[in-house]
């Protein structure tokens, strides 16, 4: 009873903050939009990384597919702005989910560190292909179409889109973890041989879970491409060294394999990172690197894991 009350309170707090933020501090609307993106990144990463035990360094690939699919639909479909954007986001989500369905059976047959390495290759290959493929703008990228509304409304519009997507992602994964599929992917994480011996359709569940992550990442691609306004294959769409690594770090920082851990990790990480940019300009990458070391050394089980351990030792 008390627990559900706390959940309602948290939900109201998140909703009020999320809705009001662009009106209270309009100057940080874009940064705040990226906060929701980071939450979506770490929540989707944790589906396979934390809950299923398949650490992916290539989930940014699905995001990039979404970015490009949306941009291409907007550029070539001839639809009006909003219709094109809507169709583009849908196309991005579908294209990303389809690529996970196609790649999944082969890649998810690779276990342990080898899976991580294979997925790392995936985003590198994608970035290189995107940099060379003329049809999608090659290394010069694609510019997003002009936003038809007032200039000040553009960031707000995409802020709310990303806020809605992050909330949708949270609700979806929460539902997923309560289902028998959630139990199944936990079982695969803890002992895949046992799960097979008990008759679980392990490949089917692994591919499906990865596709859900891909679907949401693909849907997020369109709004981000439009918010930034210019799609660079290496710095935005397939940014493996930034987004690709951050996804992992945020989930690990908050506590992987938990529902709230990735959310907390994303907030702490993103806010810290923005503060580094503001106060340590010129040294922000060094500070970032140090932060990563601190995360891995002192919080191997994440903030939630650290809190839980302190609680049990105190009690």
């Amino acid at each position: 009873m008390r627990k559900s009350g706390r959940g309602v309170a948290a939900a109201i707090a998140v909703a009020v903050t999320g809705l009001a933020l662009p009106w209270i501090v309009p100057s940080i609307t874009t940064q705040a939009a990226f906060l929701w993106l980071m939450i979506l990144f770490s929540l989707t990463w944790d589906i396979n990384g934390g809950q299923m035990g398949y650490n992916s360094f290539g989930n940014v690939f699905f995001f990039g597919v979404g970015v490009y699919a949306c941009a291409l639909v907007q550029r070539d479909s001839g639809l009006s702005y909003y219709a094109g954007l809507g169709a583009g986001i849908g196309a991005g989500a579908l294209a990303a989910a389809l690529s996970a369905l196609v790649l999944g059976p082969a890649m998810l047959a690779i276990r342990g560190h080898y899976f991580a390495i294979a997925t790392l290759g995936l985003s590198i290959v994608a970035a290189n292909v995107a940099s060379a493929w003329e049809y999608i703008g090659a290394a010069s990228g694609i510019a997003a179409p002009l936003f038809p509304g007032a200039i000040g409304d553009r960031a707000k519009f995409f802020y709310y889109l990303l806020f809605a997507l992050a909330v949708l992602t949270f609700l979806l994964v929460r539902r997923l973890y309560r289902s028998r599929l959630g139990l199944a992917i936990n079982a695969i994480r803890d002992d895949e041989d046992k799960a097979e011996a008990m008759g679980l359709h392990t490949t089917r569940y692994k591919v499906f879970a990865w596709s859900i992550a891909a679907l949401l990442l693909g849907a997020a691609g369109g709004p981000v491409g439009n918010l930034v306004g210019f799609i660079d294959p290496n710095d935005l769409a397939f940014a493996g060294a930034t987004f690709g690594v951050w996804m992992v770090l945020m989930a690990v920082l908050g506590g992987k394999g938990t529902l709230w851990g990735p959310v907390i990790g994303a907030v702490v990480f993103h806010v810290t990172q923005e503060l580094f940019w503001t106060w340590l300009l010129g040294w922000q990458r060094v500070a970032m690197g140090l932060l990563i070391v601190v995360i891995v050394v002192f919080f191997p089980t994440g903030i939630l894991g650290w809190v839980a351990r302190r609680r049990t030792t105190a009690a």
């Binding site: 079982a187 799960a195 008990m198």
Partner: protein
């Protein structure tokens, strides 16, 4: 009693080592059948062949009349053959109840049916079986926090949750507190009698297997050395030789 599992002339080699040579064995439906043999005689290899862990080189394995030697592990399991491991395999990060909830039979599962939550009936069954093996008090603990013996009991309960037709038990009493062994043997018998689950048991503890099985097979050096009732096996000079190393 009809034959549930029929192993005929199964051979399996690993490189130059012949782990099983022309092994044949029958497990009648509803029986408790024992499989004994010294260390390295090929008992676990035979289990792995039945469960689909690795392909066999020659021979045939039929379950309920269907050839299963070409099927993979999850497919064999969904037909109703569940195996436990010598070293325990439980879902260490999940509590005992969740370990049980995900161990329901998976033959009819679709993606859609996996999206629902566990039903009250499933949870009820899970708690009953945890109680049956004596782990009800530990039900909220992560499986990884249980002792080795308790993990074996949990693994047994998970196998029962799966409602298999044939249960392959690889040394169920190894590492279990001697005080608990009698209780475990009693539960194996009850699972067989009350739930109608056919058992094929690898066991080193002679007192246990003689008490449990109605028919015993003895492997030595990868070949089937002897078979018969517990009394016949106990008095068979070849079996005694195989264990004591006489020539």
């Amino acid at each position: 009693m009809s034959t549930l599992l029929e192993v005929r002339g199964v051979s399996k080699r690993f490189g130059g080592v012949v782990a099983n040579r022309e092994v044949s064995l029958d497990v009648p439906e509803g029986s408790i059948t024992g499989l004994i043999g010294p260390n390295g005689s090929g008992k676990t290899t035979l289990f792995n062949s039945i469960a689909g862990t690795h392909p066999i080189d020659s021979g045939s394995i039929r379950f309920d009349g269907h050839e299963i030697s070409r099927l993979r592990v999850p497919q064999v399991a969904r037909l109703g053959i569940v195996r436990t491991f010598q070293q325990t395999h439980v879902y260490r990060g999940m509590d005992c109840v969740r370990n049980m909830q995900i161990s329901t039979p998976h033959s009819g599962d679709t993606l859609l049916s996996m999206l629902r939550e566990s039903t009250a009936a499933e949870t009820e069954r899970a708690l009953q079986l945890l109680d049956f093996v004596g782990l009800y008090g530990k039900r909220m603990l992560p499986a990884g926090d249980l002792s080795f013996g308790q993990q074996k009991l949990l693994e047994f309960a998970m196998a029962l949750m799966n409602a298999p037709r044939l249960l392959l038990l690889d040394e169920p009493t190894a590492g279990v507190n001697p005080v608990l062994i009698n209780g475990l043997v009693d539960r194996l018998k009850r699972a067989n009698a009350e739930l109608g689950i056919t058992l094929l048991v690898i066991e080193h503890n002679m007192r246990v297997i003689m008490n449990l099985a109605s028919r015993i097979y003895c492997l030595a050096h990868g070949e089937m050395l002897a078979e018969g009732s517990p009394a016949t096996i106990r008095d068979d000079p070849r079996v005694v030789d195989a264990y004591l190393g006489a020539t």
